[in-house]
C-alpha cells in the first residue's frame, strides 16, 4: 500500500485562508500570539495588512472580531480551542452569538492530540460549550480536504461559525471525485446494516479501520462522518439508527455534550436505540506523544474496535 498523505487540519486552515483571502478583500484574520501554531502565519505572509495579532488576549480578540464584523468585513478569529471556546466563552456568547455577528472562529489544537503540552491545553469541552450558543454553527473536519471546504463554507455562511482543527497530521481520506461538503450535512462513508458508527474529526479514519475489522468478522457497520455537530444532520442520524438499531459515536471530545451528546439528544426524542459514546470519559488528558495518547484513551482503530465489540 502506498504511503498515505498526512496533513494537520490546522495547516489546512492556514492554507484555506490564503486561498480565500485572494478572492475576498473583506476577509480579515485575527490571532492571539499563536500565528505559528494556528498556522494563520501562512496568511500573514501573504496578506500582512489583513492579519491582526491581538497579543495574548483572547477575550479582547473576540470582541474586536465582533466589532469588525459590524462593519461588514469577515473576521476569522484564531487561537487554541481551549482559549477560543473556553476562556472567551462569554465573549463569544454575548459579543458574537447574541448579536449574531458574522464572526468565524478557527480553533486549533482541539482534543488530546495536542500531545505533550498536556491537560491545560487539551480542550475536550469545546463542542459542548459552543453547541449551547443559539445560532452557532459547530464543525470539525476529518482531513485536509474537508477542512479547506469547511473554511470556504464558513466564509459563505452568514453568521457565527466555530471550527475545530487539530495539531496532529492526519491521513487524507476524502480524496475522491464524489466528495461534496455542505455545512449541516453528514456524509455516509460506508454502508452497513448491523450498527452505525458516527464520528468526526480525526476519529473518522480510525472508525473506518475499525469498521473494516468488524467486517472481517461479518459485522457490517455503517460509518457516517458528521463534520457539522450543529446543526446536526438529524435526518441522516435518525434514518441510520432506524436502519441499524444501534449507534456508536466516536469523537476526540468529552462524552458529555459533544457529538455523542448531540446524537443522544436527537435519538432519545426521535428514534430511541442503544447508543455507545466513545470519547474522553469525563477526565482530563495528560502529556505524551499524540499517537500514544489516542491509543491510551481508546481513540485509535484498535481502541474503537474493542469498545464497539464490548457494546454489541
Amino acid at each position: 500500500m502506498s504511503e498515505v498523505k498526512k496533513i494537520a487540519t490546522r495547516a489546512s486552515y492556514g492554507n484555506a485562508l490564503v486561498e480565500l483571502g485572494k478572492k475576498h478583500d473583506d476577509l480579515v484574520v485575527l490571532d492571539a500570539d499563536l500565528a505559528a501554531a494556528t498556522q494563520t502565519g501562512i496568511f500573514k505572509k501573504a496578506f500582512p495588512e489583513r492579519h491582526i495579532d491581538c497579543g495574548i488576549a483572547e477575550c479582547n480578540m473576540m470582541g474586536i472580531a465582533a466589532g469588525i464584523a459590524t462593519t461588514g468585513k469577515v473576521p476569522f478569529a484564531s487561537t487554541f480551542a481551549m482559549f477560543a471556546a473556553g476562556r472567551a466563552f462569554e465573549q463569544v456568547r454575548n459579543s458574537v452569538g447574541y448579536p449574531k455577528l458574522n464572526v468565524k472562529i478557527g480553533a486549533t489544537h482541539g482534543g488530546i492530540s495536542v500531545g505533550e503540552d498536556g491537560a491545560t491545553h487539551q480542550c475536550c469541552e469545546d463542542f459542548a460549550l459552543m453547541r449551547t450558543i443559539p445560532g452557532m454553527v459547530v464543525a470539525c473536519p476529518s482531513d485536509d480536504i474537508e477542512a479547506k471546504a469547511m473554511v470556504e463554507a464558513a466564509y459563505e455562511h452568514v453568521g457565527p461559525v466555530y471550527m475545530r482543527f487539530g495539531r496532529l497530521a492526519v491521513p487524507v481520506i476524502n480524496d475522491n471525485p464524489d466528495y461534496k461538503f455542505e455545512l449541516g450535512k453528514g456524509i455516509v462513508l460506508r454502508e452497513g446494516k448491523d450498527l452505525t458508527i458516527i464520528a468526526n474529526g480525526l476519529c473518522v479514519a480510525p472508525s473506518l479501520e475499525a469498521a473494516a475489522k468488524l467486517a472481517e468478522e461479518g459485522i457490517e457497520a455503517k460509518v457516517i462522518n458528521i463534520h457539522t455537530i450543529k446543526p446536526l444532520d438529524e435526518e441522516l442520524v435518525v434514518a441510520a439508527a432506524k436502519e441499524t438499531g444501534k449507534v456508536v459515536t466516536v469523537e476526540e471530545h468529552s462524552i458529555i455534550g459533544g457529538l455523542g451528546g448531540a446524537v443522544c439528544e436527537c435519538l432519545a426524542e426521535q428514534a430511541p436505540v442503544p447508543v455507545k459514546r466513545i470519547g474522553i470519559n469525563d477526565v482530563y488528558g495528560e502529556s505524551g506523544p499524540a499517537v500514544a495518547l489516542l491509543e491510551k484513551y481508546g481513540l485509535d482503530a484498535a481502541g474503537i474496535y474493542k469498545q464497539i465489540k464490548a457494546f454489541i
Binding site: V28, E49, R50, I52, C54, G55, A57, C59, N60, M62, G63, I64, A65, A66, G67, I68, A69, T70, T71, G72, K73, P75, E90, Q91, N94, S95, Y98, P99, K100
Partner: protein, 279 residues
C-alpha cells in the same frame, strides 16, 4: 447646537429615562442620568449620524460598554428620532424591542449589543481598527462605567488600542464614583483612572464636570484634534444627576422609581427645564 439647547435636550433625555424606568419597574437610573449629558452631546452635536439611515456605512459609531444604562441611550435615540418616544414606556416589557440591555438586532441606532461589562470597549476597538484597515474616516465612541473598568478585558482592549494608535477611538469613562456595592474606591479602587489610560498610551482628558456641556465640547474637540493615539475622556459626573433624591445615592444604581418617586423626579426635572428656559 448651542450649549443651552443641548442642556435643554439633556433634560428631556432625563425625563425619558425616568419615564422609561418607571414603566419598566426595573433598571438603572443612576448611571443613565449621570451620562445623560454626554449621550446628548454625542447624538446631538458630536457624531456624524443620520436617524433616517441608522446603518449608513460612513456613520460614526457608539458602543455603550456600560450597557445597563440602556435607558439613557434609548432616551437619547428616541429624542433624536430613531424611534418613537412613546415606545420608551415599553422598556423591559415582554415582547418589546427595548431590551434591558442594548440589542443591535432590534433597536434602530444601536451599533453594538452590550451589557456584559468590559466587552463593549473591545467591539469599539474592533470598529476603529476596521476603519483604519479600509481607510474609512468614521470615528468610534464608547462609554464605560468607572466600576466597569475593574474588568480585565477593558485593559486588554486599551493596550491594543494604544499599541495600534487608534486615534479614531474615544473611550469615555463615566466617573460617577458609585457601583452596586458602594463607592468605587471602597469596592476595588480603579484610581487613578487617568494615569492608567496614560500608561496604555492614550491621550487623556480629565473633565472635572461631565454634566457640563461646555466642558464636554472642549474635551471632544480636543479628542478630535488628537492624532497618533486614542483618547480617553475621564469625566467626573454626579450619579443620578437631575433628580434630587437620586443624586449620589448608591441605592439608585439599579432601582426604578415608584409612582410617587416618579412624580417627584418629573417635578424636579420640570423645574430644571423651567430654569433653563429663563436663561
Amino acid at each position: 447646537m448651542e450649549n443651552l439647547e443641548l442642556q435643554k435636550t439633556a433634560n428631556e433625555v432625563r425625563k425619558g429615562i425616568v419615564t422609561a424606568l418607571h414603566a419598566a419597574k426595573a433598571g438603572h437610573p443612576g448611571g443613565s442620568l449621570s451620562a445623560a449629558d454626554v449621550f446628548t452631546y454625542l447624538y446631538f452635536e458630536e457624531m456624524n449620524i443620520d436617524p433616517k439611515d441608522p446603518k449608513k456605512a460612513d456613520r460614526d459609531r457608539f458602543v455603550l460598554s456600560k450597557g445597563h444604562t440602556a435607558p439613557g441611550l434609548y432616551s437619547v435615540l428616541a429624542q433624536r428620532g430613531y424611534f418613537p418616544k412613546e415606545d420608551l414606556v415599553t422598556l423591559r416589557h415582554l415582547g418589546s424591542y427595548l431590551q434591558g440591555h442594548p440589542d443591535m438586532k432590534h433597536i434602530p441606532g444601536v451599533d453594538m449589543s452590550s451589557g456584559s461589562l468590559g466587552q463593549g470597549i473591545s467591539a469599539a476597538v474592533g470598529m476603529a481598527l476596521s476603519a483604519k484597515l479600509s481607510n474609512d474616516s468614521y470615528r468610534v465612541y464608547t462609554l464605560l462605567g468607572d466600576g466597569e473598568i475593574q474588568e480585565g478585558q477593558v485593559w486588554e482592549a486599551a493596550m491594543f488600542a494604544g499599541a495600534r494608535k487608534l486615534d479614531n477611538l474615544v473611550v469615555i469613562v463615566d466617573n460617577n464614583g458609585l457601583q452596586i456595592d458602594g463607592k468605587v474606591e471602597d469596592v476595588c479602587s480603579p484610581y487613578p483612572i487617568d494615569k492608567k489610560f496614560e500608561a496604555f498610551n492614550f491621550h487623556v482628558i480629565n473633565v472635572t464636570d461631565g454634566n457640563d456641556m461646555a466642558q464636554l465640547r472642549a474635551a471632544f474637540d480636543e479628542a478630535k484634534a488628537t492624532k497618533g493615539m486614542p483618547t480617553a475622556i475621564v469625566m467626573k459626573t454626579v450619579k443620578g444627576k437631575g433628580v434630587s433624591f437620586m443624586e449620589n445615592q448608591v441605592g439608585w444604581h439599579g432601582k426604578a422609581p415608584n409612582d410617587e418617586e416618579y412624580a417627584q423626579a418629573m417635578a424636579d426635572l420640570e423645574k430644571v427645564g423651567e430654569a433653563l428656559c429663563q436663561k
